[in-house]
Every structure is written in C-alpha cells, then in structure tokens.
C-alpha cells in the first residue's frame, strides 16, 4: 500500500498551462501506471488541452465534467493567486492539495491550512515537489521526468518525508541503491508554515502496512522536529526513524536564512544542535552522512523486528540474511 495517493487517485492541475505545469503533467502521465489527471484549470483557457488533459476555467467545471468528486489537485499558480486557487479546490471538495508554488506569504498559507482543516482536506507544501508512490504514481514534479524518477525510486518498506524536494530524491536514490525501496516519499516543502509536517504525516505511515521504517530529511528553523519527537514518544511509534540534518553551519549564523525560507534560526530551539538532541531523545537516529542511512535503517529494522514484530507484516528477506537485491 501507500499513503495519501494510489493508482486510482484522480487529480487536477491548477495553473496547468504554465511552463512548469506542462512539464509536470507530462511527467505524472508517464510515470508508473500513469496518473489519472482528469482535468486542468487555467481561467480563460477552457477548451484547450495539455498533453491530452482537458483545460477548464474553474475547478467546479472539472468536477462536473468528471461526473463526481476529484481526489486531489496540484496547484502551480503564481504566489499572489495561490490562496484563491487552494480555497477553490477545498470548496469544491478536493481532499488532497499539493501546493508547488514558492514565496507565498505565511498568512496566506495559514489561511489555506485553516480552511483545509475545517473541511477535512489536507495540504502538502507549499514550496514542495509533491508525493510519489514508487512504480505506481506520482503527484507533482517529484523525481522529475518519469525516466529519472524510475532510476531513483523503487518500491519497498521505507517512508520518506523531506523538507527539501531535491533531497527527497537523493535520499530515496541512496535507499534504492542499498536495496531499501520506498512505500511513499513526500516532499513536504521548505517554508516556515506548511500544510503537513512530519508529525501530521506519521499517523498515515503508522497505519500503512507496507511501511516499516521512516527516513526524514530536516533543516534548522521551526519546531517541526520537536513536534515529531513528541509524536513518536506519545504514540509509541512502531517504526524506527532515521533522520538527516543539513545546514548545521547555520547555527553560527542566527538571523540568516539559507536553502529554504523556513530555515531561519530565530531562537535556541531552532538550531540544528538543539534539534538533533530532541530527535535523539525520542530514539530517532541522526545520521552524519546520507550514505550511512541505509545501514542504520537496516540495523534498526533488524533489532526492531526481533523485539516487536508488527502485526501482519512479514519479515523482509534481507533481515533473514538474504541479499536485498
């Protein structure tokens, strides 16, 4: 199984005629079994098509043409119009919204998230590359063209959550090379306020039988890692978690932001050092290098399976001593 999306997930692309959106549409249609992109929205462009996907003026028209509810939307409109586009999707009963757009003011993001919470919808992003279920489907630019995505991602037991889109692929590729495939990889976005944090995605992975371990990529700035640590302790998380922390140099440079908008160190709790300590307290191993992640995960999984076999999950071959490949 997977989390958030699957082979049957229907979605639309808002802002579909934009340059990046045209590419992203092609990539999603080509990847795995082919995404079910049932329509696209660009106001004033109704009647056109993008790689065979019909374009409409409104989300409501998409829903009507589709003849029923649509599961998701990828939003790639300019920052000034993003809030409106997301509101439109939510009010048309779309339940999963991937916001690709960068540089959206925090207040707009917070408003989108609050409305989504009220309506039972979920936002991934903004400033993210979306979600991929290896070999099955991808929703967003994650992994790039289908050929490149297929090279980096493979199906397997690891859930990946990352504040950096590019590093989602780098880490998954490293896992793939070591024989650890991924159940679902989620690029959650690099902004200070995002729709879905690590802790908010953990219940999905926890409930997913395929997922046996979690790998996260994290950075200085914000309290998201503390929130994850708390979640892990409070919920007696069944899965081992391995983290990688980039941007350690930023601890010496308070008030500066590197990499992503959300990385600014504003207080003591925002620093890499503090976060590493918090994660470690919750039993989350923080790898020094990305290349160490697979081995750490394998040993944690082996120890984990021995002590607490999750119900209904068979022991993977490589834990019993077989080769992962």
């Amino acid at each position: 199984m997977s989390i958030l999306i699957g082979a049957d997930t229907t979605f639309i692309v808002q802002g579909i005629t934009g340059r990046e959106a045209v590419n992203l549409t092609r990539e999603c249609l080509d990847y795995g079994a082919g995404a079910k992109i049932v329509g696209g929205v660009t106001p004033g462009r109704k009647g056109r098509d993008v790689h065979g996907v019909p374009v409409y003026d409104t989300v409501a028209q998409c829903v009507e043409a589709h003849g029923g509810p649509i599961d998701g939307s990828v939003v790639t409109v300019p920052p000034a119009f993003t809030k409106d586009a997301v509101f439109e999707a939510i009010e048309n009963a779309v339940k999963l919204i991937v916001v690709v757009t960068e540089r959206i003011p925090r207040r707009d993001v917070a408003q989108m998230v609050e409305l989504a919470n009220m309506r039972g919808a979920r936002i991934i992003g903004p400033n993210c590359l979306g979600v991929i279920v290896p070999d099955v489907v991808k929703m967003g630019g994650i992994g790039g063209p289908a050929k490149n995505a297929a090279q980096a991602y493979s199906a397997g037991p690891i859930g990946v959550i990352s504040r950096s889109g590019g590093m989602t692929t780098e880490m998954s590729s490293t896992l793939t090379a070591a024989g650890l495939g991924q159940s679902t990889a989620v690029s959650i976005g690099g902004d200070a306020i995002i729709g879905s944090t690590y802790a908010e995605l953990m219940p999905f992975f926890e409930a997913d039988e395929q997922t046996e371990g979690i790998v996260i990529y994290t950075e200085p700035g914000g309290r998201m890692e503390a929130e994850l640590s708390q979640w892990v302790v409070d919920n007696d998380c069944r899965m081992p978690i391995v983290a990688f922390m980039a941007g350690r140099f930023m601890d010496e440079m308070p008030g500066m932001s590197f990499g992503h908008a959300g990385t600014i160190v504003e207080g003591k709790e925002d620093t890499a050092a503090e976060k590493i300590a918090r994660l470690a307290d919750a039993g989350i191993t923080v790898a020094e290098e990305i290349s160490e992640i697979p081995e750490i995960m394998k040993s944690k999984l082996a120890a984990h399976v021995e002590h607490k076999p999750p119900p209904g999950v068979s022991v993977p071959a490589w834990v019993r001593g077989g080769s992962p490949l």
Binding site: R106, P145, S164, M167, T174, A177, G259, H260, T263, E289
Partner: protein, 412 residues
C-alpha cells in the same frame, strides 16, 4: 524585513496605539530642535538594526536641548556591531509606573499567530517565559475569523492583570494583533508597553519584522516610511561579492543562482539546490574544508548563468579551485551546468581539469554531461559517489589530505 525602531513606532502609531511625541533625525542640530519641542529631559537612541545598543553607548539621556544635540552628534558617529546608525530617535524621558510586554508571533506548530503578553515588560520575553512562566499569557488567533477584543483580554488576564489596567491594555493588544495580520508581520512587539505615572498607556519601544515575500502588497506603507525597494535589511549587509552574485542571478531569467554568500575560506563552491547546498556546505566543513562562498544553483539555469557564477567564484581572491556539486537533479540539467562551469574556466584562460576539483551532479542529462566532462579531463562522479564523499575529494584536492585527516581525527 526588519524595521528600525522609529519606523516600528510609526507603524504602531498608525494602528491607533498611543506613542510618545518622538522625533527621528539624521542631523544633530535637528535633534536639538526636537528636544526643544519636547521641552524637558529626553532620551537619544541610536537607530540600528542590531541588539546591544544600550551597552554600546547608543542610548543617552539629555537634560537640555544642547545636551541632546551633543549626544546625537556622538551617537551618529558610533558604530554598533558593525552597523552605522540610520539616525537617532529623540524621545521624551518617560515617567514609568509599570512596564508590560505585548507581542505577536507565528506559531509554526499551531500554524496560527499567537498573542503574547506579560506584566514583566522591559526585559527579554524568552527569559521571562523561562523563569516566570505564569507571567506570560498566550492566545492563538484564527487566520480566517476577525480578531476580537476578548482574545486580547484573555491573554492579558492570564497574567493576573485586572482592573483599569486590563481595560486600558485590551484595545492596545488587540490593535497590535490586528496590525500584525494586516501588515504580514512575522514579529510585532511592543516592549515596554508602559503605564505612565499620569495613568496613560504608551508604547515606548517597538520591534517589527515584515515577511519579505509580502513586501509587494505593502508598497504604500513602505513608501510612506521611506523604505527603498533595494533595502534587504538582512542580518548583515551584503558584500561586494554577494552583490555581484545577485547581478549574475538577475542578468538572466533562466534558473537560479541564488543566495550567493561570502565566506573566508579557499574552497570555491558552485553548489545547489536548497537542501543540496545545505548538505554540501556542511559536508565540506565536516571534512576540514573552508568554503569561500555559499550559493544555490537550481531551477535549470542557463549555460550563461552557470558560467557567470563560476567566474565570480573562480576570481574571488584566495580561491584556486572550485567544486561543482549538487544533489541528484531532475529539473536542472547536468550537461548545461557542465558547459557553464567549463566555459567559465576557458574564458578566464584556465584549464578546466585544473580548476574544477570535482564535478558531482547526477541526474537529468547526465550522459551528455559526463561526455563533456570527460572531454576536458575533469574528475566527475555519478550518484554512486555520495555528496559527502564528493565533498571529501574536493577538500583533499584543494586544501590537502592533512586537513581531511585532521577533521576525521577531531570527529572521531
């Protein structure tokens, strides 16, 4: 984007919150005129975007307008933490009865603004929160519903403040929350918020920080305050090297060569993208290397842009070689970046094989990219070589194996 105190006070005043009859000037003689108008003892405060102003001698008390002028002249010449003041603020010396704190910040976990209030004002709020948690009130506000007086009242009442003070503080704190939201602030703080001996309530100092991404929708306010479009107001002023980096990025709309930041070391970095750059910069340092710069290439830059950035880094004094590294790319193209950095070497009259210590960018169009690198004899790596290993090779080549060994020793 941070505001100077005199600007922050102006924003507070515009929100209907009472402030003192202060004046701002860049001229010592005018400071005297302002002090004369105020007509009594005054405080002269340096206007700098850095802390520790009091300790550095950037705040002085004056009994007469003559003294105000003399202090203003001194303070205008006084550099604080590397910052020259924008000007001085001349403020009536306050007769304070009680100091409070009021602030609004984002709570990233709740994804809502949170109003903070304390009856222990005038000191650092984080310190109060740590040592006297019962003296800090907290109330989250909705992003969709209008802000209401009761939210401010609840927040104040949590600290035990009641009676006339509660009545008078409530509209001030509510207005602060409103201005936070209306102006896309990431921090709006009045500290201290004072009850004066005459019973009035006045904002005596204010800190405001507006989200940079939202500047476009507050052009009117910024124009009124005289904030220029090119004022970045970062924690430190950009260097010439960094300004040149911005120029390279701005010269061509294709792709990004962003966040070019100067460091003291000798290892020139052409790295990307957001998370990749953070990882690689750490990796270079972990192996004992000292970067000459930070940067983030991405978004499929043109040959021209990659070339411009590489040239800038290659010509930085102290830089002998560059390391060109990224996490696996899917949008940016390996071959285009390869062409750009090689072109930079050739146009500067260098041998690319000599100047590029390592090229580690796997991903889109890598077959073509690797062909180019091979032709020029450049050491390159595919995805089987980790980012950390690539960084290590760069440090070995540029700084020498001893640095790497020393770093390994220190780390183990």
């Amino acid at each position: 984007m941070r505001f100077f105190e005199y600007e922050a006070r102006e924003i507070v005043k515009r929100a209907g919150i009472p402030v003192t009859d202060f004046g701002f000037t860049t001229d010592a003689a005018e400071a005297r005129t302002i002090a004369e108008r105020i007509g009594g003892p005054t405080v002269i405060k340096s206007q700098v975007l850095t802390g520790g102003r009091m300790k550095a001698g950037g705040v002085k008390f004056a009994d007469t307008p003559e003294q105000a002028e003399a202090h203003a002249a001194d303070i205008l010449e006084l550099e604080i933490n590397g910052h020259m003041p924008r000007g001085v603020l001349v403020d009536p010396k306050a007769d304070v009865k009680q100091e409070y704190y009021a602030g609004v910040v984002w709570d990233g976990t709740a994804k809502k603004p949170v109003i903070l209030f304390s009856d222990m004002g005038g000191i650092d709020i984080e310190e109060v929160a740590e040592q006297h948690p019962d003296h800090v009130g907290r109330v989250h506000i909705s992003n969709l519903l209008p802000i209401s007086d009761y939210q401010a009242k609840e927040c104040i009442a949590q600290t035990g403040v009641t009676g006339r003070a509660l009545q008078r503080l409530t509209p001030i704190v509510r207005s602060l929350a409103q201005l936070f939201v209306d102006n896309d602030m990431v921090l709006a703080e009045i500290n201290p918020l004072c009850e004066m001996k005459d019973g009035t309530f006045v904002a005596l100092d204010a800190h405001m920080d507006m989200e940079s991404e939202a500047r476009g929708r507050h052009k009117g306010l910024l124009k009124d305050l005289g904030v220029g479009d090119d004022e970045t107001r970062l924690a430190r002023e950009p260097t010439d090297f960094e300004l040149a980096g911005e120029e390279v990025d701005g010269a061509d709309h294709r792709g990004v060569a962003g966040n070019v930041t100067e460091f003291d070391g000798n290892i020139g970095l052409v790295i990307g993208a957001g998370g990749g750059s953070l990882t690689l910069f750490d990796a270079v340092r972990a192996h004992g290397g000292e970067p000459a710069n930070y940067c983030e290439i991405g978004g499929n830059p043109s040959v021209h842009k990659a070339c411009g950035l590489a040239k800038l880094v290659l010509t930085k004094p102290g830089v002998d070689k560059i390391a060109v590294m990224m996490s696996i790319v899917s949008n940016t193209r390996v071959d285009i970046v390869a062409r750009g950095v090689i072109k930079a070497c050739l146009e500067l009259g260098f041998d690319p094989a000599e100047k590029i210590a390592i090229f580690r960018i796997p991903g889109a169009w890598e077959e073509e990219g690797f062909k180019i690198l091979e032709k020029y004899g450049i050491e390159y790596a595919d995805r089987s070589v980790s980012m950390h290993e690539a960084a290590r090779r760069a440090v070995v080549k540029i700084t020498g194996p001893d640095a790497v060994a020393a770093a390994a020793e220190a780390g183990s």
